[in-house]
Structures are given as C-alpha cells and as structure tokens.
C-alpha cells in the first residue's frame, strides 16, 4: 500500500494553549479514516493544519511524498480537497459554477471540459437537476452534496471532511452520508472528522480517537466500537450513545 | 508674509465661520422640527399624509442643493425681497427636512410595535404613547444617522456661497482676491476649519449617543 498523505507530529498552539500536541497519521491510497473525539479536542484544527488553512507551528505534511511548503501550498491544495462543516459554497455562483470554477480557473481547463466535468460530478452526487440554482436556494443536504461535487471536480488525491453532516437537520444527514459511503467504496482516500457511527462502521478502514490534542487510539471500527482499549474512548462512545454490547 | 496675511485676515475667517455655524444651526433646527413632524405624520397619519410626505421627500432630495439655493434666493426675489442668509436657511432647512424625516421615519419604524401596544395597554393615549414611549426610543436609533446628516449639512453650508452669503468659503474667496495669491494656504486653512468643526460636532454627538445609551441600544458602529 502506498502512502498518499503523511502527517508528522503536528503541533499547534493558540497563545500558550496547545491545541495539537504532536499528531501523526498516515493515509494509504484508497483508505478512509474517521476521526472522532470530544468537542474542542482539536479535530478541526488538525484538518486545517493538514492543508495549512491554519499553518501548524511544528510538524510536517506530505502529499504523495511531496512536503507542503508555503511555496507549493496552492498547487498541493488542488489535490488535497477540503469539505467544510458549513459548506461554504460560493454564494454568488450557481451550483454549476461552484463546481466548475475549480477546473476552469484553477486547473485551467477549457470551458467545455470544465462544464463536462462539473456535470459529471453533479450527477455523481445526484444534483444535476439543481445545476442552475444558487446555494441559498438549496437545502443544507443539497448544499453539502454540491460542495462535495466541487471538491471532486478538482480530481483530488485526498479529501478532508470536517464534520460534513453536523450542520444539517437529522433527516438530511442520510443523503450526504450516502454520497460519502459511495466515494469510499469507489476507493477515494478520505479523512473524515465525524460522529456518524453508521458511516464509520460501514465505510471506514480505521477510526482515530482524539482527545486533548493527542491521538488516543487508532484501530478498525470493530475494535473501537466494540472493544476500545482506552477508557476514554469507551466513555466518549458511551456519551454519544454508540458503544455496542460486547 | 503668508502668516501676516493669515493673521490680518483671521477675523474675517472667524466671522465667516460664525455665519456658517448660524446657518448650520438654523437649517438643522428647521430640519429637526419639520423632519420629525413629517416622519410622525407619515408613520401615524393616513394614506394621503403619507403620500404627501413621500412626494416632499422625493422632491427635496432629488434637486441639487445648489439649485434649491438659487431658487430660494433668485427665484423668490421675483416676488419679494429675501436676504441671502434667510434664503439659504430656508432652502437648506427644507432639504434637511427631507433627509431628517427619512432618518426619523426609519427610527420610529425600528421601535417594535409591542412597545406601542404595551403603552396603550397601560392606559396611555395614542399621542401620549408616541411622545413618552416611541419617540424616546426612536431618538436612540436616529442619533447615529443624524450624526452623518450633521456632517453633510456642515459641508453643505459652503454652498450658500453661490447666493452670496458671506460665510466661510466666500470670506476665503474675498481674502484671495484682495491679497492676490496665497490661494492654497487660504483654502487649506478654511478646509482645516471645516474639518475641526466636523470633528468636534461628531465627538459631541458620539458623547450624546453614549449618554443616551441604555442596555438594549448598544449598536455603535466602528
């Protein structure tokens, strides 16, 4: 298995308070990992440090063996997509333009090529009939699916998801989870911060449990969900009501 | 010798400033009284009153201040003699009425309807409720925009120049023609005087706004 994303000892401090205390992880090609952990534990910060939306204080990130630096960051981000909790679709652009702007303006494809690509990705997430809507005219679930299409249109090697369903009404999470499951089954490499246990159980290769800026444990869903090593993991799963009877 | 010129002419500039301030006070007072009355009529009056108010606002905001000044001085002089200062106060005052009524209308409408209902439920009459409950709250909403109106009217007083009111800008023009030169310096000094008055006025109005603030009304813009 070839490593696509390698994260080495990321440290991030806000003033003198350390949010990440040396976090390392790896993603092999086609692997999907889910990060769980209590609120305020640094999960979002970790994802944002990985693509340098928040530059880390220490530590290194490699995508396909290439280290992220302030020089190559824009190039690397083209292959390291990010899906936000609150979608952040571009408000002044239609859904089609949101998905098309990456291939067209960043990858420099022709208009026809970019449009084709965008329509393909919209079909993939089931939104081809919403292509000419503006973000504000879509439901939250549709917006999140559109933002996933926007990420996919860049042909990324890895997609980082930061709680993609937690801003959604419960009845809308299903459609987004379905799209993500499909991506995982198609072999997309994904790092997902999420408390969607159903998704983790069926689609994740590994679950990473984080607390206090550390990775407490990392194991397969069966192990973490049924028989975690750490009491803290157990406690957390219990708190979200998802520890399964042994 | 520039300084001598300035020193010799300082009394004229100060007198011009004094006239400008009188003009400003007069036009703002007219605008305040009539503007508030117009706003009340528009909000609480019937349809006809509202339509008349809106037409008045449209007309006086659609015509340039310079044209209003020319109309109220030269135009009115077709019928009766009118001193330039009075013409300027009237023209700019009515124009300010249009702007201020818009400010007060917005401010009155920003007071939740529940306030009026609660006052009536206590047994206050409509007029009493307007003056005791609605207006005090509306004034707190209005003071921010009113500060802007103050600034723009201070600057508008300089336009009274075109009908020969001997305010600050015209004094500057006189000084320049009598001393032949020093134009940049004289207008520079005049600009500074306007700038300072504007600043002082704004500071005073911010203070007033802060004094009027009660919890629930904190909304100072940066």
């Amino acid at each position: 298995m070839s490593t696509v994303l390698r994260v080495e000892s990321i440290v991030k401090r806000y003033s003198d308070h350390a949010v990440l205390n040396g976090v390392s992880l790896e993603l092999a090609r086609g692997e999907a990992k889910v990060i769980m952990g209590p609120s305020g534990t640094g999960k979002s910060t970790l994802l944002r440090c990985i693509n340098h939306l928040t530059p880390p204080d220490e530590g290194r990130v490699f995508l396909e063996g290439e280290e992220l630096t302030s020089e190559n960051i824009n190039k690397i981000r083209q292959r390291l997509a990010f899906v936000f909790q609150d979608f952040n679709l571009f408000l002044h652009l239609t859904v089609l333009d949101n998905v098309r702007i990456g291939p067209r303006r960043i990858l420099g494809q022709s208009k026809e090529e970019a449009t084709e690509r965008a329509l393909t990705e919209l079909r993939r997430v089931g939104l081809e009939d919403r292509a000419n809507y503006y973000p504000a005219q879509l439901s939250g679930g549709q917006q999140q699916r559109a933002s996933i299409a926007r990420a996919l249109a860049m042909d990324p090697k890895v997609i980082l998801f930061d709680e993609p369903t937690s801003a959604l009404d419960p009845e809308l999470t299903g459609e987004v989870v379905a799209v993500m499951k499909q991506l995982a089954s198609e072999g997309m490499t994904m790092l997902v911060v999420s408390h969607e246990v159903a998704f983790a159980r069926s689609a994740a290769d590994k679950i990473i449990f984080m607390e206090g800026g550390y990775i407490v444990e990392e194991a397969t869903p069966e192990v973490i969900l049924r028989n975690p090593r750490s009491d803290r993991t157990r406690g957390f799963l219990k708190a979200i009501g998802e520890q399964e009877a042994v | 010798m520039i300084w001598n010129t300035l020193y010799d002419n300082l009394p004229y500039l100060l007198h011009g400033t004094w006239i400008a301030l009188q003009l400003l006070a007069g036009l703002l007072a007219i605008g305040l009284v009539l503007g508030l009355a117009l706003a009340l009529v528009e909000v609480y009056g019937g349809r006809l009153a509202r339509v008349c108010g809106i037409v008045f606002e449209r007309v006086f905001r659609g015509i340039p201040a310079v044209v209003l000044l020319l109309l109220s001085y030269y135009g009115v002089s077709d019928f009766i003699e009118i001193p330039p200062f009075l013409a300027a106060v009237l023209a700019l005052g009515l124009r300010s009425t249009a702007y201020q009524s818009q400010i007060f209308r917005g401010a009155i409408q920003a007071v939740p309807v529940g306030q009026m209902m609660a006052a009536r439920a206590l047994g206050m009459g409509r007029v009493e409720a307007i003056f005791r409950i609605v207006i005090p709250q509306a004034m707190r909403h209005a003071i921010g925009p009113w500060t802007n109106e103050f600034s723009s009217e201070l600057k508008a007083t300089s336009l009274a120049y075109v009908i020969g009111v001997i305010e600050l800008t015209r004094q500057a023009k006189y000084i320049i023609s009598s001393t032949q030169g020093n134009i940049l310096i004289v207008f520079g000094v005049v600009a500074i005087i306007y700038f300072i008055i504007n600043r002082l006025g704004n500071i005073a109005l911010y203070r007033l706004e802060a004094r009027m603030t009660v919890p629930g009304f904190e909304r100072r813009r940066a």
Partner: protein
C-alpha cells in the same frame, strides 16, 4: 401654468444642451471614484501600515471638508504650484477625489461583510489569496454594496451642479444664464429643478434595475 409651459418650451433646449456636460462630468467622476475608492478600501483592509495610514488620512480629509472648498483648492489653488486644469477637468478631479473617499468606506464595509468561510473555501481549493479576493470576495462585496453605491452615485449627480461655481457650463450654469437674460429667475430655476428631478429619478430607476439584474439570493439581503 401655460405661461410656464411656454417659458419651458422656449428655454429647455438651451438648458438641455448642458446635459452631455453634466453626464460626462458625473460618469467620469464616479468611474474614477469607483476604481480609486476600491484601491483605498483595499489599502485600508489588506494594505501594510503605510498604505493603511495614507488611505485613512485621505478618506478622513476628503470626507471632512466641503466639496466646493476642494474644488476651489484644485481649480484656483493648484495653479500656484504649476498644476493648471481647465474648469471641466478640475471639476472631474474634485468630484472624483471626493466621491472616492465615500465609495472607499462603502467598499470597505462590503468587503469585510463577506463571510470568512468564502475565503477559506477558495483557498482550500488552491486559489491564491489574490485570486480568491478577486474571483470570490469582490463579486460578492460589489453586489452587497450596490444599494449604498447607488445612493452615492445619485448624490454625486446632484453635486455636479457645484461645478457651475468654477465656470463649467453644465445644466445649472446654463440655467443661471437664462435667468439673467429673462429675469424670470423663478421659472428658470423651477425648470432646472424639474430637469434634475427627472434626471435623478431616471438614474435611480436604472440603478434599481441593475440591482435586480445582479441580484443573487443569499448574497444580498433583499432584491432591489
């Protein structure tokens, strides 16, 4: 009334010959103000200390002093140091510099009001900061600013009449000339007032149309 109509019929054409001058003055000034205002706003938000300070001082000075004084300063004063403008150019420069200070403040507010997630999302896709500002933030800011910008543009249209004080023969100057020829000042200035009313109402309609045409749900609070 019919007397006024006769008067209008006779003198309106002469006044309206000033319309191209008024409109040219206005369009040149607000266009200049648009670009320079944007630059000033840019300096105040994204600029370094020096750019920020210079832009701030500029905005404060031009918003703190009357346009007429600025116009005299430019038209009468600058020749003292060898900078000579004809009246029309001086008026364009004065109105343009003045409006850019006001437009700068509107642009600044609008740029700052674009949600920060928009920038983050654009950068996360690989856009440079500059590219994100131009392709994502600016288009949204311009839509948000349009109602205020329209007000400012209409205000400046009325301010073009100040140019008459330095001898630009636009609408107001022509009206004054007619006043002195006919000694019917009241009719003259009522007539020119009506011209401005029609002009400002038309421009307001056009800008409202532009607002409706560029309306995108979710970017601005409401349609124009």
């Amino acid at each position: 009334m019919s007397e006024f109509l006769d008067f209008a019929a006779e003198h309106l054409p002469y006044i309206l010959e000033g319309l191209p001058t008024t409109l040219a003055l206005w369009i040149l000034a607000i266009t200049f103000g648009f670009f320079f205002g944007l630059l000033l706003a840019w300096c105040r938000i994204y600029g370094g200390r020096l750019a920020y300070s210079l832009a701030t001082v500029y905005v404060e000075i031009f918003r703190g002093t009357p346009m007429l004084v600025q116009m005299f300063f430019i038209y009468l004063g600058l020749p003292e140091i060898g900078i000579v403008f004809d009246p029309f150019t001086a008026a364009v420069v004065a109105i343009g510099l003045n409006t850019s200070a006001y437009q700068a403040e509107y642009f600044r507010g609008a740029l700052l009001s674009v949600p920060s997630g928009q920038m983050a999302a654009a950068q996360a896709m690989g856009m440079s900061r500059m590219q994100a500002l131009i392709q994502i933030v600016l288009p949204q800011a311009l839509r948000r600013v349009l109602p205020q910008w329209s007000n400012e543009a209409i205000l400046e249209l009325k301010f073009t009449s100040i140019a008459f004080a330095i001898g630009v023969t636009e609408i107001t100057a022509r009206a004054e000339k007619i006043g002195y020829q006919t000694f019917e000042f009241f009719n003259t200035f009522v007539l020119v007032a009506l011209v401005y009313l029609v002009l400002t109402a038309t421009v307001a309609e056009l800008l409202a149309w532009l607002e409706r045409k560029t309306y995108v749900p979710g970017v601005t609070a409401r349609a124009g």
